[in-house]
Amino acid sequence: LNHLKNKYRARFCHGGRNKIDLQPGQNILKVIQDCFESGS
C-alpha cells in the first residue's frame, strides 16, 4: 500500500480541495451523497 501512502501526503497537504461547507442542521447524508456525485 506504500504507493497510497506517498501520494496521500501530497493529496492531504494540497490546500485546493473543494471545501465541503457543512451548514449546521444540514442533512449530512445528503452532503455525502453529493460529494460522491460531484464528478471531479
Binding site: 496521500y8 493529496r11 492531504f12 471545501k19 465541503i20 457543512l22 460529494c35 460522491f36
Partner: protein
C-alpha cells in the same frame, strides 16, 4: 476469451474504485 473479458471488466472496476476511493478519502478527511 473469458480472460480478455475479465481483464476488460477489472480495468473498468479498478478505475471506478480508485475514483470513488479518492472521493471517500476526501470526504473522510473533511468530515471526520
Amino acid at each position: 476469451q473469458i480472460r480478455k473479458c475479465t481483464e476488460k471488466f477489472l480495468v473498468f472496476m479498478k478505475e471506478h474504485f480508485d475514483k470513488l476511493f479518492a472521493k471517500m478519502e476526501e470526504v473522510v478527511l473533511q468530515l471526520v
